[in-house]
Structure formats: structure tokens, C-alpha cells
Symmetry: C2
Subunit: 179 residues, 2 copies
Amino acid sequence: MSDIHSDLYEKLVSSERIFEGKVINLRRDTVILPNDQTATREVVEHPGAVAVVPVTKEGNIILVRQFRHPVGQILLEVPAGKLDPGEPPENCALRELAEETGFTSNKLRHLTSMYTTPGFSNEIIHVYLAEDLVESDKQPDEDEFIHTEVFTPKQIKELITTGELCDSKSLVALCLAGI
Amino acid sequence: MSDIHSDLYEKLVSSERIFEGKVINLRRDTVILPNDQTATREVVEHPGAVAVVPVTKEGNIILVRQFRHPVGQILLEVPAGKLDPGEPPENCALRELAEETGFTSNKLRHLTSMYTTPGFSNEIIHVYLAEDLVESDKQPDEDEFIHTEVFTPKQIKELITTGELCDSKSLVALCLAGI
């Protein structure tokens, strides 16, 4: 990082554990701001995740619908899931792809890695394009409670324009995949 | 929502307040899954936010650099900020634009509204394109600790390709703005 931004840094003073959960943890940090004042920062700790854009040989895209309790809605998303402890993101991408769609990919390409909510969480999502799909031994889990659907690129564009596709990781993944 | 997805819904059983913070709250809900089993869901409550793509009359884009404590890095992002209680998103967009860049916009267009992390939070971000920029009475806050920088569309594409621009709301906003 270049020195010209050195006046932006905050300095950690102390950290308080608030909650240890199944998916996330929460802590409250105290920091010193660039103007030497003190502030608190609430930080949601997340294990990180992957998102995958699966493209069929016809050039169509497989999406999943699932109920998202925090927003109380069924959302349309690219296949995605959390990293297991120590799991390489690429392995996780292939695992989640198989679990959610029943396919694996012979051509997986990293598109980007991004922070979803850097204001209050450390969650990072590694985004992949998955082509050359072949049926996987591992079929979708019985208890995943998702529906898969195949869309043409034109349909994807419409879903984005109308706002029906409103999950940020999916929007980034589809944009960067050039859909 | 169409009936064919009715087998995806979860049903709330109970809700436990864990934490009430300055920016976020945390609760833990118990739900009944579609297979009648019980599960817990950790939910980070967030007030919602806006993100704005400010385009100058030359067709360049104003971004902000700021330190993000949860990820321990200075990130390059589009101007953005949280909704005040009851604040219309469009007002918030113009307020944050002025506070962070010193400009207001005579041509604000809604691009989309999206969920940043629907797996664990209800945060929604309303995304705007801001054109016809004029100097605002309200200049950047002294204690915002941000640097603004102007980039050409070509430079933005490079920042996305290299991964230097790695904030998901900014990636969505710039993609949907057609940058």
C-alpha cells in the first residue's frame, strides 16, 4: 500500500468476543481513528465462501432458487457455499457445484475474489466460471432445499434488469463471466 | 412467489436477541425446515445502505479509498453509506455523494437494489448512477477519513481485472452502470 494513504489507517486497541455461532462469530473492536479519537467497530467473522457460474455446453447458465431466512424470500442465485476449514477455494467451488447442481467441471476459472460487506464483516467470496460440465458422482443433497433452473444469457439479462436477480455475489459473478 | 417453490420455505419458531450494536444487531432464530427438522439461523440486522456511481462530465468515475477495519485493508469503493432511520434511499444517495465527494447530482438513476449477504444478513443496498454532477454546499466531512480519486472507464476495467477493486457492491454498481 502506497504511503500517500497512510493517514487513513485505524489502529486496534482492544477486542471483545460477543458471540460464537454456527456460521458466524461477532466481536467488537476498539480502534484509534486517524484523528486520534477512539471508536468501536462491530465485526462479523465469516469463514469465507465461493460462488460459481456454471455454463452448459449450450451456453446457458444454471442458477439455484433457495429460501433465505435473513431476507424472508426465495432468491435466485449462482451456486455457492461456505468454505470448510482449510478447504482450498477451488475444491469448495467444485464441491458446491456438485452438491447443488449434480455437475462437476473440467474447466474451472477464477474470476475474482471480493469482500461482500467490508464495513461490518470479513467475508470474502471467491468467484469462479465453470465450463465443460459433466455429471458428477455426487448428486444434490436431499436436505439442500434448492431448485435448479437453466437460463439463457438473454433471460439472465432480463432477470438482472427487472431486479428479480438481486443477490450481489450472483450479480458480480454473472457480470464478470460476461453474461 | 409461484407455488412450485412452496417446498423451499422455512417457518420461524422463535427468535433470540443476541446483541444490539451501533451499526448492526444480531439475533438467532429457530426455524422449521421443509423436511420438518429444526435448525438455527444467525441473522445480522442491518439498516440498509446505498451505493452511488458518480460519473463526471468527462465520463470518468469518482471512487473513494477508505480503511475497512473488518478486512484490515484500504479498499477502493464507490461512494456509499448507511440509511438513516426513515431516510428515503434517493436522499441518502445524494447525501453520501456530497459527504464523500463534495458533489451533488441533477441526474440520479436507480440501477438496482440487492442483498449483499442473504445467507446471514438482511442488508439491502440501493444502487444509483449519478450524472450531471455539480459542486455541493455540503463538503466532505473532516472526520470521514477517505481519499477520493477519479478514474477513466479503462482504468476501472483494469482495477476490476487485476482484482484491486474487490468490493462487491462497487463491482455490481460499476457493472450495471455499464462501465
